[in-house]
């Protein structure tokens, strides 16, 4: 049978605020345990929450960025359950009236087509603390520093049909929130956590199959892997006559399998009800329009501009716009050299290759965008040729010079464009290689073109790479042809 996969995601994005969603404690990552958990975060008797304006602003801007409706009223509710990392015995969240209504996020598939994934809603809530199971002699240690960190939970419709689509969705979402600066998007530190709902159904069937929820998948790669093995499990199960049960599962990347979370518990009953300590949030048009005015250029808009205004290919535009850091780097380099295509080629070519090899993010590049841009400017004004440029780039990478110009100067890489000087080199090469000259002369005319390469190589070598290769090429061809 042909099966179709149906995927929906719930993504928790940690908002990059200074303080918690309901208290003035810091949200900085990595502090000593419980040093950033204030009385409110600890749920001390008598404390009360007050909503962080920035968390609201970020949620609203996210909504605007995905073309969502921002309802006039939104309500905080309590989701009641006991867990040691949940200090109050309830999580303050939103249920019936979330801050962000339905919207859409465009994702770019491998073949370049763009799909719209519908967003059901996004809501604000507080994060829980962390449990540490090691080093407490059979006890569990609770650190509540993270408790109360603002989260935006973004819930998609079940619109994705493959693991690739799902990871493309998460990448697109990642790009949006990091572009906007509303999250650092650091998945390793848990700034973006995905719950993936997966089900399968026979191709052509309308009704959804029973879904399993894979909790807390925290890298783009794992999202694909987790979905692939869960889909396989479900198909095998059904084909063997079994039934998928609705449950929560965990993905184990080491074993490359998902497994059911042991729940001794019967189904939860969260007893949601409006939080009596918080009042309805009313966001008027003026506030929403103000937030709209603060929106930065978003990935899709940037892609569009790169194509139309800068004349880049659709592919280049989408790669360069894929992250804020990449796009910012590219634009800075382009500004310094004044050539979009040249900058695009280098950022995607030499720079990306070196970064990949070194395992660095573009934000950690040893060569700054300005440094690269100045280097490219020297290619563009013919000061150096492409070969020398690679050498300069290598030196910049190794911090052997501050600027491209310094390195060009110090290494004497300035391109020789003086015709007389090049002519002298070319003449010398022809004189030094009589055998090859004879071979050239005797060769079939259509083979000669290839043979020129040898002379060009010799001439470039003689100039230590500084000769203008186009000039060298032209001169050699005319001189050899004169000998025919």
């Amino acid at each position: 049978m042909q099966w179709e996969t149906v995927i929906g995601l719930e993504v928790h994005v940690q908002l990059a605020t200074q303080s918690k969603i309901f208290s003035g404690a810091s949200t900085a990552y990595g502090a000593e345990p419980n040093t950033q958990a204030c009385a409110v975060d600890l749920g001390m008797p008598g404390v009360l929450p007050v909503v962080n304006e920035n968390a609201v602003a970020m949620a609203v801007r996210f909504g605007l960025a995905i073309g969502a409706e921002i309802p006039e009223v939104s309500i905080f509710e309590r989701k009641n359950y006991f867990y040691p990392d949940l200090p109050k015995g309830y999580q303050t969240s939103q249920m019936a009236q979330p801050i962000v209504g339905p919207g859409t996020i465009d994702i770019t598939l491998d073949d370049g087509t763009v799909n719209a994934v519908r967003i059901h809603h996004a809501h604000l809530e507080e994060d829980a603390g962390k449990s540490m199971h090691e080093s407490f002699h059979g006890m569990t240690g609770i650190d509540l520093n993270r408790a109360g960190t603002p989260l935006l939970e973004i819930v998609s419709e079940p619109d994705m049909r493959s693991a690739r689509e799902a990871s493309a969705y998460v990448r697109a979402l990642h790009a949006i929130v990091t572009y906007m600066g509303i999250s650092d998007g650091n998945m390793a530190e848990g700034s973006m956590r995905c719950d993936v709902n997966v089900s399968v159904r026979p191709k052509g069937q309308e009704a959804f199959g029973t879904r399993a929820e894979i909790k807390n998948v925290n890298s783009f790669r794992f999202i694909e892997q987790a979905i692939e093995c869960e889909v396989e499990r479900q198909i095998d199960l059904i084909e063997d006559g079994g039934k998928v049960v609705q449950e929560t599962r965990l993905f184990d990347p080491d074993l490359n399998e998902t497994r059911s979370m042991r729940t001794k518990e019967e189904a939860n009953d969260y007893r949601y009800f409006p939080c009596p300590d918080l009042l309805p949030m009313m966001l008027d048009d003026a506030y929403i329009e103000h937030q709209r005015s603060l929106l930065p250029e978003l990935p899709s808009e940037k892609r569009q501009r790169f194509e139309t205004a800068l004349g880049l290919s659709a592919y280049d535009a989408s790669v360069l716009a894929s992250s804020r850091a990449m796009a910012d780097y590219f634009e800075q380099a382009m500004q310094s050299c004044g050539d979009a295509k040249l900058a695009a080629n280098w950022v995607q070519g030499d720079l990306s290759a070196r970064l990949n090899k070194a395992g660095l993010d573009i934000s950690e590049s040893p060569v700054s965008a300005t440094q690269l841009g100045e280097l490219l400017a020297r290619i563009k004004d013919d000061t150096i040729n492409g070969k020398a440029a690679k050498q300069v780039f290598a030196d910049l990478w190794d911090c052997k010079g501050e600027t491209a110009d310094q390195i060009i100067e110090a290494r004497g890489l300035k391109q020789v464009t003086d015709t007389a000087a090049i002519e002298a080199i070319v003449d010398q090469v022809i004189t030094d290689n009589p055998v090859q000259v004879t071979q050239y002369r005797e060769a079939e005319p259509d083979k000669r073109g290839k043979m020129i390469g040898f002379f060009v190589g010799q001439a470039m070598k003689a100039s230590r790479g500084t000769a203008n290769p186009q000039q060298v090429n032209a001169l050699i061809k005319s001189k050899l042809d004169a000998l025919l």
Binding site: S19, V51, E53, P84, S131, M139, G141, D269
Partner: protein
């Protein structure tokens, strides 16, 4: 709406109250009388009446995003039943 033994045990479990069968029996009586009294609400026509969650028609004020709380861990942990290395301790949680 009557409340039954199983309802009491269910609520006790959700509320993490260690109530045994005998206790539950007693609560069935108490809670039933309370719910009987509450049943006066069921006959009231509330069609189209908006639920009232807060007595004033006020809206949520927003707080400036500033990290201003100092580290007071030692003070907060003075009342804690069990701590080690700054962590609160609980019996091992199986995940």
């Amino acid at each position: 709406m009557a409340i039954e033994h199983a309802d009491v045990l269910r609520a006790a479990h959700l509320a993490r109250l260690g109530i045994d069968n005998t206790d539950a029996e007693r609560y069935v009586g108490d809670l039933s009388r309370i719910l009987d009294m509450v049943d006066a609400l069921s006959g009231i026509d509330t069609d189209g009446v908006k639920p009232l969650a807060h007595p004033l028609d006020a809206t949520q004020p927003l707080r400036a995003d500033e990290a201003i709380e100092p580290n007071r861990r030692d003070t907060y942990q003075e009342s804690a039943p069990a701590v080690a290395d700054g962590y609160y301790l609980v019996p091992r949680v199986v995940e």
